[in-house]
Structure formats: C-alpha cells, structure tokens
Amino acid sequence: MKILGSEITPYKTYLNRRKFIEGSFASALLATVSSSVLANHNTDPSTYNQFMNENDKVNSYEEITTYNNFYEFGTHKKHPHLNSGDFKPKPWSVKIDGLVKKPMTIDLEKILSKVTIEDRVYRLRCVEAWSMVIPWQGFQLSELIKMAEPLSSAKYIQFVTVFRPEEMPGQKKRTINWPYREGLRMDEAMNPLTILATGLYGHEMPNQNGAPMRLVVPWKYGFKSIKSIVEIRFLDQQPETSWETLAPWEYGFYANVNPTVNHPRWSQGTERRIGEFKRRETLMFNGYEKEVAHLYKDLDLTKFY
C-alpha cells in the first residue's frame, strides 16, 4: 500500500484520520476536502486507496459506472450506463415538506452553497451479494435536516426519486410502482455516516449512479441508497418503501447488512467484491458496526430485517 509523502500537506489530515479509522475498524474516510477535488475529474484509484485499510481497495471508475442497479433506466446491470444519456440532472431542485418548520423547494445549487462537501470512501453491499468500494463526494444528510428544522413529531424521513419516463426509459414499464421511494428512521438519517452524495471519483455524479444527488447509507443494502432525489418528506410514521412494498417477505424497511439474517434468494453470509475472484465474508452492518450498532440495540434484527 502506498503512503502519501508527508510533504504534501493538504492531505495530512487524511493520514491522521486513517490511523484513527483503522484503530476503530471502520474504513469510512472522513475528511474535508476543498471543492477543487470535485473539479479534478480524477479516476485514479490510488488517490483513494492510500487512505483505505489493507482489506479494501476502491473499485475502478469503469466498474462503478457500468454495473448498476437503477431500474429507472432498465433492469439489467448495464442498462443504466447505456440508457441514461438523455437524463437531465440540471437544473435540479428538491422539495422538502411534511413535519418541518420550513417546508421549501430549494435549488440544489443553493443547498451545495450551504454544506460542506467531503470525500467519503464507503463499501457498498448490494442485497444480491456483490459489493464495491466507492469514493463518493457529498455532505452529511444531517446538515440538510438541520436546515429544514423538523418538528419534534418527525420520526421518519421518506425520499422520493424523480419520475420522468421520457428521460428514464425503465419507468415506461411498471416493474416498480414508480416513483421509487425509500425511508430512514430519524436517528439513522442523522448518523454522521449517512450522506447525500453529489459526486464520485471527483466527477459530478454520473446519471447512472443517481445524478445529481443520491443517498448513501453504507451499513444498509444498496437499495436503501435512493438515487436522483426530488422530494424529502418528514413523517411521524414509518413510510412506505418500494422494495418492501413489492416483496415484503424479501426486503424489510431496515435492510441492514447482516450476514446472519437469511434472504430467500441470496445467502447474505458471503459476497463477491467486484473485481475479485473468490467470495469474501460479509461483515455485520457492512463493517460499520462500531458506528451504528447502537441504533439497533433494542431491535430484534431477525424480525426487523
């Protein structure tokens, strides 16, 4: 593993963080970077690998952008890459409503001017038992929540994906009851690991990965990380989510990565890291146990899967 020369000062904070992170067995990379990183259009994995623990290597830009589950563009893994060319992520605004003091429709540009964009290198574990390591750029969801000033009665948040069948050919077919919806409990949404990502590898978020803004919840199966968000609702009840509605016996609201809870279709005990030949063991909460296990200490995870 390469270690960045210490003469490159801007990254010093990275290195200090890295030590701390390895000690706590979490490889979330938490570091604030200047927005110039976003404009760097960097696709070199080594930029990020040096900050990861030995077990995890970031996947290539090609892997991350040509193998996607984004049924709005088609149900095959290559469809989002092939069919998302007509999608227009600019201009973009997000509606924030429900149990908040300040319901609003806000331009993404305006949101971005008020938040801190950070680099976050996270493992992504799909419920289909494959995984990747992805260098995201984004900001903590908690920052946006604070802006909206939720009422104390708000216990859950629901997210809604844009519905544009003209630009998203997969939506012309009713494979899912569009628009795609997801949800989080308030404490999950406020957890520092939960981000709204607006870029990857220093690029603006590619259309096939959920442009211009998507959720990333690294300790949950990938389908929780809803893409191309246009609406965020604050609710007092657990919201309806797309996959749970489609097949409740297979997908739960929580969908925490858990090797001990069986899925009728895929064993969740192991996973194939994209780019690797042999399967590897799946980690509890996708390896983020230290950061999030406390959220579920009173929950029977075999029932609330």
Binding site: E62, Y67, T75, K78, K173, L246, G269, R272, I274
Partner: protein, 201 residues
C-alpha cells in the same frame, strides 16, 4: 417437403451453431471480456441458453406433428443433449467458480433457497434423460418405458423456467414468456391425447 436427409444435412451446422456460444463465453471469460461481474454473467448466459434449448426440444416434438416437417424430430436428441451440456456448464460454474467447491455452503444453498432447489431438481431429472439417449438404450429399455422416462422433460422444463422466474427481481416478462410457451406446448399435448381416442372411434 423436408426429408430426413435434409434435416440430417443440417446437423453439423446446427452442432457448431449451438456449441459456439459456450466457446465464445469461455474465451471471453479467460481474456476478461465478460463485464464487471464475469462469473455472474457466465452463469446467467449458460443457464439461459440451457432453458432455451429445453424449450426448443419441446417445440420440435410439437412441430413434428406437421406432416411436411415430420422428420424434424431427428434433431431433438442432439439439441436435448446440448441442453444437458449447457446445464452442466451452468451448474459447474455455480459450484466451482461461484462457490469454490464449498460443499457445505452449496448444500445449504440448494436446500434453503427455493430457486436453487428448483434448478437443482431440474438438473437431476435431466440426468436419466441424457443417459438414456442412445439407440442402444431405447432398445434395451423398450420404447414404452423409454418414453415414460422421457416424460421427465415436462417437470424439467417447468422447474427450469420457475428457477428463472423466481431469480428475477422485478421485470418478470422474459421468464413469463418462457413459462407461457411451455404451458402452450403442454396444453397441445394434452389436447392431442384427449382427442385421439375420439378419432379412433
């Protein structure tokens, strides 16, 4: 009118045509040209090919009822054996490449996951069909018993299409089309069976 000779002549071409995809995928796999998740891709392609060939054998039986192309039935054995060939490759990909011969895990997987159970039983039922495919075996068993054994193709086809149906997460169009074709071919056979004694009277 297509004679037995015509169909016999087409056999070598057909042989190469059906064999070719497996060679291509094997080559692409080795040179790393099967996409980002090559093991999954290889397994999916092999399985889909096997299912399609199984359906083709059922179609051939139905088509052979048409007098003009009656002799098409001589192609059935070869295509059936190719279906078995693709199922074997599909299954070995699962065992060797996907799970690295972790037999404990594989046995659990077969028992616990309905779609794998369906696929596995379908594979098991194909073994007696493939192993009794020679003329010698037909003679040895007698045509009646041989035919009875080969009725197993129906559960094989149904289980294989179910295996695919359950695997697909949301857009079930393709597996439903296959199931529909199988059902139509089955209904045709039942219809034929029921009407035959009437005509004899």
């Amino acid at each position: 009118m297509f004679s037995t000779k015509n169909f016999n002549k087409s056999k070598p071409i057909l042989f190469i045509l059906i064999l070719f995809p497996s060679l291509l995928w094997a080559y692409q796999f080795v040179i790393g040209n099967l996409g980002v998740n090559p093991i999954e891709k290889l397994m999916d392609e092999l399985g889909l090919m096997a299912l399609r060939l199984i359906i083709v054998t059922l179609m051939i039986t139905t088509l052979s009822n048409i007098k003009a192309i009656k002799s098409i039935v001589i192609l059935r054995r070869m295509i059936g054996l190719f279906a078995f060939y693709y199922v074997c490759l599909h299954f070995s990909t699962y065992i060797v490449l996907d799970h690295f011969l972790d037999m404990q895990f594989i046995i659990q997987d077969i028992i616990k996951r309905p779609f794998i159970t369906f696929g596995f039983i379908s594979f098991l039922f194909l073994i007696p069909l493939a192993s009794t495919s020679t003329n010698k075996m037909i003679k040895k068993l007698g045509f009646k018993l041989w035919k009875k054994i080969h009725y197993l193709i129906y559960p094989v086809a149904i289980l294989a299409s179910l295996h695919f149906y359950v695997l697909v997460r949301a857009d079930k169009t393709e597996p439903v089309i296959y199931m529909g074709i199988i059902l139509l071919l089955l209904l045709h056979r039942i219809f034929k069976k029921l009407t035959r004694p009437l005509l004899a009277r």
